[in-house]
């Protein structure tokens, strides 16, 4: 099997194994652009608008972390982008543009079934949240990897496909003789890694992982995260990584997008988000978990609870819980803008009226100054 080395792949983003700082630059070469994606749940007259005009760009070779409170729509975003959202999900608008290696863009939402089938797994693979349920319990894992390969490369024989499956398992650190195992004979960590191997089978350019480590203990989590990082370095795919675990995300992601109530509220380089959050919610989130090492620090929770997505008003959804909220927040739902805090990465975006004076003026109010907590440098 030939795995394309990212270094000789044309147009691959410059990868740095020598330090994080270089990877911080958002890619100018997007592989996946999600534009104004809207998703509803429910087929009746009164659906829940779970995603509202979400836009997100994934650069080639980049690891994009997606974080946010539970129920804010992270999984929905991942599934909608691949059109795998289960009923009663309904995509009501937007585009999902995928750029293949030769630079051709296709809108995944406009493909017909056959085209979509052909594109899946080749272009974009997804690792689902529960590895326990993602594998068919009645087939050996070898077969499950092989049938994905053969569906896209019909000329491959079963034997070749199994050989490749063995290589893939080896890649994720599982002995190839495990090909003959049934899913229930594997531990949770192994299953999760099988899923990753399976996702890598066709050398996809985008890998979406929905909470791949939540069910595992930290030791196992560490193993898997390392594996992904290593493979990404070797194979050069881009990753969307969804998790609750902010500390983990800061560690492995190049860029982090913070979601709140079905919208992206902040999108910036990982360490920037950690050290210099611009959105009050990001800031609160980062003050909610205790650090393992170093000095004990004050933990600030987020008062209140997330809004009911089916009853959203017109203002900022976070306004109720926001200590920096002001009058305009109840009237205008902020759009993603580039905050002009001096010294910032120009590409970082945030959806907060504190950083968007023009939107505040548009409703005829005087924009208050940016509070110091949100303008750390």
């Amino acid at each position: 099997m030939t795995l394309t080395s990212p270094l000789d792949g044309a147009g691959a983003a410059p990868l740095a194994s020598d330090g994080r700082s270089q990877r911080l630059t958002p890619s100018a070469d997007p592989v996946l652009e999600i534009k104004n994606l809207s998703v509803d749940y429910g087929y009746d007259d009164d659906p829940v608008h779970v995603l509202r005009q979400v836009s997100l760009t994934l650069g080639r070779g980049e690891v994009l972390g997606l974080a946010g409170e539970s129920g804010c729509g992270k999984s929905t975003l991942a599934y909608a982008a691949t059109r795998l959202l289960p009923p009663p999900g309904l995509i009501t608008g937007g585009e999902v543009l995928f750029t293949d290696r030769s630079g051709v863009k296709t809108d995944l939402l406009r493909l017909n079934d056959t085209q979509l089938r052909a594109s899946r797994w080749q272009d974009m693979a997804i690792v689902f949240q529960g590895a326990m349920n993602s594998l068919n319990p009645v087939y050996r894992i070898g077969r499950q990897i092989a049938d994905g390969i053969r569906a896209h490369e019909p000329k491959t024989t079963q034997k070749e496909a199994l050989e490749r499956a063995a290589e893939l398992l080896d890649l994720v650190g599982i002995a190839p003789d495990r090909l003959k195992s049934y899913p229930h004979q594997l531990s949770g960590g192994m299953r999760q890694r099988v899923m990753i191997a399976m996702a890598l089978a066709l050398d996809p350019q985008v890998l979406i992982m929905d909470e791949p480590t939540t069910a595992l203990d930290v030791v196992m989590q560490r193993q898997i995260v390392e594996q992904i990082a290593e493979l990404r370095d070797r194979l050069g795919f881009s990753v969307i990584f969804i998790t609750h675990d902010v500390s983990l995300l800061i560690e492995i992601a190049d860029r982090i997008a913070i979601m709140y109530a079905g919208e992206i509220v902040e999108d910036a380089a990982a360490l920037d988000v950690y050290h210099r959050p611009r959105h009050p919610y990001s800031s609160a989130l980062l003050h909610s978990f205790p650090p393992l090492r170093g000095p004990r620090r004050e933990l600030i929770g987020i008062p209140g609870s997330p809004p009911d997505l089916s009853k959203l008003g017109h203002g900022c959804p976070f306004a109720d819980r926001c200590e920096f909220a002001f009058d305009a927040c109840a009237k205008v739902n902020p759009q993603l803008v580039f905050p002009n805090v001096p010294g910032d990465d120009p590409r970082r975006a945030v959806a907060c009226l504190r950083h968007d004076p023009s939107a505040v003026r548009a409703v005829g109010e005087e924009p208050p100054p940016v509070p110091p907590e949100l303008s750390l440098t």
């Binding site: 691949t82 049938d147 049934y182 899923m195």
Partner: protein, 326 residues
């Protein structure tokens, strides 16, 4: 293996309990075979015959119920089911042996057809939930709600008596002697068509519904979504992933129904004058023919238990999770 041994123990207990019930139920019934015979003949057998018949059936001896029970087990363990009263002196085993092939042949084939077709249709409906296919459901529901004999009698009236397409009764052309000739076999098929069709029609909806519901459940399992995400062809996802797993619970119902095949569909055999075991059971009950009744019950019990064991086994083959040790 241990799992299977344990199941086996469970089955042995069930078997014992079922056989014991089978033994006692007929005996606590009021009435006896002689009176039943006289009743059936309503005056054509004189009451004087009673004592002769009593002697004939061996009912003149006094044995305690317990003794009979012990004897019964003794006989069973020697593979002897006793002698039928109604068909005296034919051994019960012979009566059953003569009837079972017909029942298994007809009801078995009908059940298999019903299961296969029903499961296929059910997969389709479950997979395409929310389309026109859903409208098949109320129709099949109707046929499952209709009493079987009603359907069968109307079928006979329409297709046999009025249209003359199918014979109304019997298992083969009565002028033929059972041999392995094409003539005979085709006659068996011809005579079996209408009964088989009515069985299929009245039982198929259960399979459709069961499969459909399982399909709907299984379709929303993550691994089906993963299969779709892998870009597998629709056929592979439908049959290889969704239906393959949805069929598991169907298998045990199927095994159970295979077991009941041996019991025959009593009503079908009465309505179509089919020479199966269900009719014998019915006659035996009416005639208080304990040995025959018990024999048939025994065979049915064993068949159902056996089918269950097979189902357990097949389930183990189909679902590797059950093979898990510990």
């Amino acid at each position: 293996m241990r799992f299977f041994l344990r199941r086996l123990g469970f089955y042995v207990i069930t078997f014992w309990a079922a056989v014991t019930i089978n033994f006692f139920i007929p005996r606590i019934m009021p009435g006896d075979p002689v009176r039943a015979l006289i009743a059936k003949n309503q005056g054509r057998i004189s009451t004087d015959a009673e004592s002769a018949l009593r002697t004939l059936f061996g009912l003149d001896k006094d044995t305690t119920l317990w003794q009979q029970y012990v004897d019964y087990w003794n006989l069973i363990l020697h593979g002897d089911l006793g002698t039928s009263f109604t068909y005296f002196p034919t051994p019960v085993a012979d009566v059953i042996a003569g009837a079972i092939p017909w029942t298994i042949g007809l009801v078995g084939i009908a059940t298999i057809i019903s299961f296969t077709v029903g499961t296929l249709i059910g997969s389709g409906i479950g997979w395409r939930r929310g389309t026109w296919a859903d409208s098949l459901l109320p129709i099949s529901t109707f046929f499952s709600a209709v009493p079987y004999f009603w359907l069968a009698l109307i079928a006979i009236t329409i297709f046999s008596v009025t249209l003359g397409w199918f014979p109304a009764s019997g298992s083969y052309d009565r002028s033929l002697v059972p041999t392995f000739s094409w003539e005979f076999i085709s006659s068996v098929i011809y005579y079996g068509t209408l009964p088989a069709l009515t069985i299929v029609i009245s039982s198929i909806s259960g399979w459709i519904l069961g499969m459909r519901n399982m399909m709907v459940t299984v379709s929303s399992e993550d691994y089906v979504t993963v299969a779709q995400a892998k870009g597998l062809s629709e056929r592979t996802v439908l049959f290889g992933y969704a239906a393959r797993n949805a069929i598991l619970p169907q298998v045990s119902s199927f095994a159970l129904s295979l077991g009941f095949i041996v019991g025959g569909t009593l009503i079908m055999e009465i309505v179509f004058s089919y020479q199966g075991i269900g009719y014998y059971l019915f006659t035996a009950v009416a005639a208080k023919d304990y040995p025959l009744m018990q024999g048939i019950f025994l065979v049915i019990t064993v068949a159902v238990l056996f089918a269950n064991i097979v189902a357990d086994f097949v389930y183990g083959v189909l679902d590797p999770r059950t093979r898990q040790e510990g």
